[in-house]
């Protein structure tokens, strides 16, 4: 933050104030989305009375476990790709040395970091998976039918920080600092976009699964997985 006031530039802006802004929008936005959803759910008389913790957890567990549902077993390739994609997508930025250093710099906290080469590989995996997901949308008929332009944008939004991060790390295409700036900005855009796009599924997943899991388990005595 101080860096920006000492030396205002796009680089320091993206490195300081914009990060805070992105995290704030992300957290407040998501909190707001979840809160309003929970409040709206009250209007529907058939949600809360039937919620059941045991079956909510069963449902979430089944669907977070690779191949935990019949659906995943029927789509082994897609399941493998999405699990690898999501794990790398979340773990890489959280456990990247460069990111942890930034946290340390401003908050004096740090944690275990991924070995640089592994993080690099995981970044490539995210990029490759994104390409696969785009191809799937383009060529698999049933998904092509469902897909709209915004679905591609969402994938690009997610892939961009990884692509630019990779390029910056290997000092390819553009000068390091410029690429790094683009990287930071794209990451911030992604964070900000989460509450306002389908990316919000990262939180909504738990809410819909709670409802459907409870309905299936506690009321219908059958499996939702």
């Amino acid at each position: 933050m101080e860096q920006f006031f000492l030396d205002p530039s796009i680089y320091t802006l993206a490195r300081g104030p914009l990060v805070w802004l992105a995290f704030l929008v992300f957290l407040i936005g998501m909190f707001y989305r979840v809160f309003t959803t929970l409040k709206m759910a009250k209007k529907e008389k058939v949600i809360y009375p039937y919620l059941n913790l045991k079956y909510t957890l069963r449902s979430i567990f089944r669907w977070l476990m690779p191949f935990g549902s019949i659906s995943m077993r029927k789509h082994p390739w897609f399941t493998a790709v999405t699990f690898v994609f999501h794990i790398c997508l979340i773990a890489t930025p959280l456990f990247l040395t460069g990111h942890i250093e930034l946290w340390h710099e401003s908050w004096r906290i740090s944690w275990w970091a991924l070995p640089v080469s592994l993080a690099d590989a995981m970044t490539v995996i995210v990029i490759l998976c994104s390409i696969l997901l785009i191809f799937r949308r383009l060529y698999q008929q049933d998904i092509k039918f469902l897909t709209s332009f915004s679905d591609y944008i969402v994938i690009i939004l997610v892939a961009l920080p990884f692509i630019t991060g990779f390029l910056a790390h290997h000092e390819l295409l553009l000068e390091y600092k410029i690429m790094l700036t683009i990287h930071m900005i794209s990451g911030e855009i992604m964070l900000i976009a989460i509450p306002f796009t389908r990316l919000s599924h990262m939180f909504m997943f738990f809410l819909t699964r709670a409802h459907t899991g409870s309905e299936f388990g506690a009321v219908r005595h059958s499996r939702d997985y």
């Binding site: 659906s71 039918f145 005595h221």
Partner: protein, 441 residues
């Protein structure tokens, strides 16, 4: 890929659309969007990742040569997403398309929900669009006629109360040919059980009532039928999403039970009635669960066999397979009970695959068979998967403890030349159970 269908005329849809204007359409849509929906609609629409995991779970998609427009999420896209995108300003042509998709290309079986990573309730979204159509008055004629009958008579086929009493009287006469002093009590106060029948059983399939009466007499159940309107357990209003009529019918059933002071209600083998009586209906009336136990035929037979109240004289030897009706299996987990019963009745069981709560719908449920002859082709095509499932078992008998599955599979049997007999549990049990010497005429 676009939405391509052969033209079908249904006066319930086409004629109504000639009469209404866009303002009425908008009003109905706005009512549902503003007054009857909330979190579920919003979250389900905004969280669908268009991942296609649900696609192959639907028998309509598979039965129509993997036509993407039949995929579960595609049906949602072409209906409620479209309505939301257009902010409710839709044309009559649009409504016609929505009605076709939601009434005749989805059984509300909820199999796709089991396949969606987010548990998005596609059947709920489809039913929502049916509700909009219903408020406009656009409902397949065959469903609508039955709903009108329910409104006035509380049964599905304009049966009058005196006809009902008359029917039961001569059925009792017939019963006595098989059971000495056999009784079909009507309107008996303080009985243990109130038994309700399917509308069709009173008019065309009376053997089902006689067979149930045989079992009740042999098992010495203290039962009664209603002496008033409300004896028919069907609730066709569920298919139209006419909540008001649905509520009225379900309320009549429970009120009849209270008036006769019985301990529980038992119905025969019917899926939608059971589901409405324990979910949609009671929820609409403001109860969390049914106020008194509401028992399905499968639960009844399970208890009677388990407690030894009926005994089987000779088991069936031919290979049989089991149809798991969505409305009692996926909706109430009776799969194990059903299998227990069938194991008591039959020597040779060959299961379908997939089975139990992952079973495919018969393609007749959720109002599709009730949409009548104009839509039979849609149903038969969607039933291809079920037909293949049955053929692969090599069974000679399909046990289908649901009126809709029963009729639906009979049609599939003819069209796909499966050479099977479709049977109700009640018919099999009545045929092969032991009748104590003193009860024989």
């Amino acid at each position: 890929m676009e939405f391509k269908r052969k033209p079908v005329t249904d006066i319930g849809i086409d004629e109504t659309l000639n009469r209404v204007d866009e303002a009425k359409i908008k009003k109905a849509i706005d009512w549902v969007l503003n007054k009857e929906t909330s979190a579920r609609l919003k979250v389900f629409v905004e969280t669908c990742m268009r991942c296609g995991m649900c696609t192959t779970s639907c028998h309509h998609y598979l039965g129509h040569n993997n036509d993407p427009t039949y995929a579960p999420a595609a049906k949602v896209k072409q209906t409620i997403w479209d309505i939301l995108n257009k902010k409710g300003n839709v044309s009559k042509e649009d409504i016609k398309k929505y009605a076709r998709i939601t009434f005749t290309e989805c059984n509300l079986c909820r199999r796709c929900v089991q396949f969606c990573p987010f548990g998005i309730d596609i059947a709920y979204l489809i039913a929502l669009v049916r509700r909009m159509c219903c408020l406009i008055g656009v409902v397949p004629q065959y469903i609508y006629d039955q709903v009108l009958s329910h409104m006035q008579t509380t049964n599905m086929l304009w049966f009058r109360q005196d006809e009902w009493l008359d029917t039961i009287q001569w059925l009792e006469d017939e019963l006595r040919a098989e059971i000495k002093n056999g009784k079909i009590p009507v309107g008996k106060k303080d009985a243990e059980v109130l038994y309700l029948a399917h509308g069709l059983e009173a008019k065309y399939m009376t053997g089902l009532i006689t067979n149930m009466a045989k079992i009740m007499n042999v098992a010495k159940v203290d039962w009664t039928l209603p002496d008033t309107d409300g004896w028919d357990y069907t609730v066709k209003a569920l298919y139209a999403q006419d909540f008001e009529t649905m509520g009225k019918v379900i309320k009549t059933h429970y009120e009849t039970a209270f008036r006769l002071n019985v301990k529980k209600i038992i119905i025969g083998e019917c899926g939608h009635a059971f589901r409405t009586a324990v979910y949609e209906g009671v929820r609409y009336l403001g109860w969390q669960e049914p106020p008194i136990p509401y028992i399905h035929g499968v639960q009844l037979f399970y208890e009677l066999l388990k407690e030894g109240k009926i005994k089987i004289a000779k088991k069936i030897e031919e290979p049989v397979t089991i149809q798991d009706p969505c409305n009692i299996i996926r909706y109430r987990g009776m799969g194990k009970m059903l299998r227990y019963i069938v194991a008591q009745l039959c020597e040779n069981i060959v299961e379908m695959s997939p089975k139990d709560d992952h079973n495919y719908c018969c393609s007749a449920g959720g109002g599709m068979i009730d949409s009548g002859p104009p839509w039979k082709t849609a149903r038969i095509e969607g039933g291809k998967v079920k037909a293949e499932q049955i053929r692969n078992t090599g069974a000679k008998i399909v046990i289908a403890p649901c009126h809709t599955c029963h009729k639906g599979i009979e049609d599939l049997n003819i069209y796909y030349k499966l050479n099977v007999h479709v049977k109700f549990l009640v018919d099999i049990i009545a045929e092969i159970m032991e009748i104590p010497e003193e009860m024989k005429p």
